[in-house]
């Protein structure tokens, strides 16, 4: 990945024990994200990189690993018991490194009735 760790101390700082830290300590206090992540936004990992995974702090690594099986922000939060806001910041960071892919939501197509029509069509085809 891009940032080459020139000083050897960098990986160390990511190895903090995070069992009992306040949730947003994991994000350096950041609560806002560059990416628009709704609770239903799907995340996947295009190509899993074990070296990158090893360099991540535990929470990010857990998210990165879990997202190998395409999963929504809400499900990542629930299955890893991480607050929604923390998941958003960490996933946004991973997306900034091109480590994860952020899928579009129907909201992004709100001016396009075809998506709603496909949803309605899908509901009509569900087995009862």
């Amino acid at each position: 990945m891009g940032a080459s760790p020139r000083n050897g101390a960098r990986p160390q700082t990511y190895k903090m024990k995070s069992k009992r830290v306040r949730p947003y300590a994991l994000t350096g206090g950041r609560t806002r994200t560059r990416h628009h992540l709704l609770v239903e936004t799907l995340i996947s990992v295009p190509e899993f990189d074990p070296v990158l995974a090893e360099a991540l702090m535990p929470e990010s690594r857990a998210l990165y690993t879990r997202a190998c099986q395409r999963m929504s922000i809400a499900e990542l939060s629930a299955t890893l018991t991480l607050p929604l806001g923390v998941v958003r910041v960490l996933i946004s960071d991973l997306a900034g490194q091109n480590a994860v892919f952020i899928h579009p939501t129907a909201y992004a197509y709100q001016n396009n009735p075809q998506v709603l029509e496909r949803i309605l069509d899908g509901l009509k085809q569900l087995p009862v």
Partner: protein, 198 residues
């Protein structure tokens, strides 16, 4: 889940959509979501971690408020590349801050009503009438086959505007619950066509 699709589904662009299921305590939100969802309910405690900051005093009175607040969650695969999520809004007022987050980007909302406890759903109707831009419908949950009030009476009791669709349902019945979801999508579609330029 068949594991054979594990590689292909990461490569596929998948659109996710969301419908919010609102209504007060005990009106059948959990029943409705579980009747159509293809996944087991999630333990959603983690979603509310933000809520604990500063406002975690014990709520005054009310026996029910000490139970764990689980929020309803469901997922339906509509097409290989199109998933529909259902999010139930928490009834307790101290979690209302979550409504904005859960509703953002939703294609619409369903307010579920039980005519035996109609007051339980006033807050939800208020929210979607005044504090939200989402299209919404109201669904009257008729379990036990009760028809104590007809829909006009319910509309009056809720002071519901004429342009908000009001339907009957049985939240226990999968077909009926799917019908509710179809009704909100149809309503959203109608509104989007009205507002579409040209």
């Amino acid at each position: 889940m068949d594991s054979s699709s594990s590689l292909s589904d990461t490569g596929l662009l998948t659109i996710s959509a969301k419908i919010v299921i609102a209504g007060g305590f005990g009106v059948g939100k959990t029943t409705l979501v579980n009747s159509v969802s293809e996944v087991a309910p999630l333990n959603t405690d983690a979603w509310m971690t933000e809520a604990s900051e500063g406002v975690d005093d014990l709520p005054p009175g009310g026996g029910k408020s000490t139970t764990t607040v689980a929020m309803d969650f469901g997922r339906i695969t509509l097409h290989q590349d199109l998933l529909l999520y259902l999010f139930g809004t928490p009834g307790q007022s101290r979690f209302w801050f979550l409504w904005d987050d859960l509703s953002r980007g939703a294609l619409g909302a369903v307010v579920l009503v039980d005519t035996n406890r109609i007051d339980q759903s006033f807050a939800a109707v208020n929210y979607f009438e005044h504090d939200s831009v989402l299209p919404f419908i109201v669904a009257v949950n008729r379990f036990e086959g009760q028809y104590a009030h007809d829909l006009d009476e319910v509309r009056d009791a809720l002071a519901l505007a004429d342009d908000v669709p009001l339907i009957d349902c049985d939240a226990r019945d999968r077909g009926s619950s799917i019908g509710v979801l179809q009704a909100i999508v149809t309503h959203s579609l109608a509104l989007s066509r009205v507002s579409a330029p040209g």
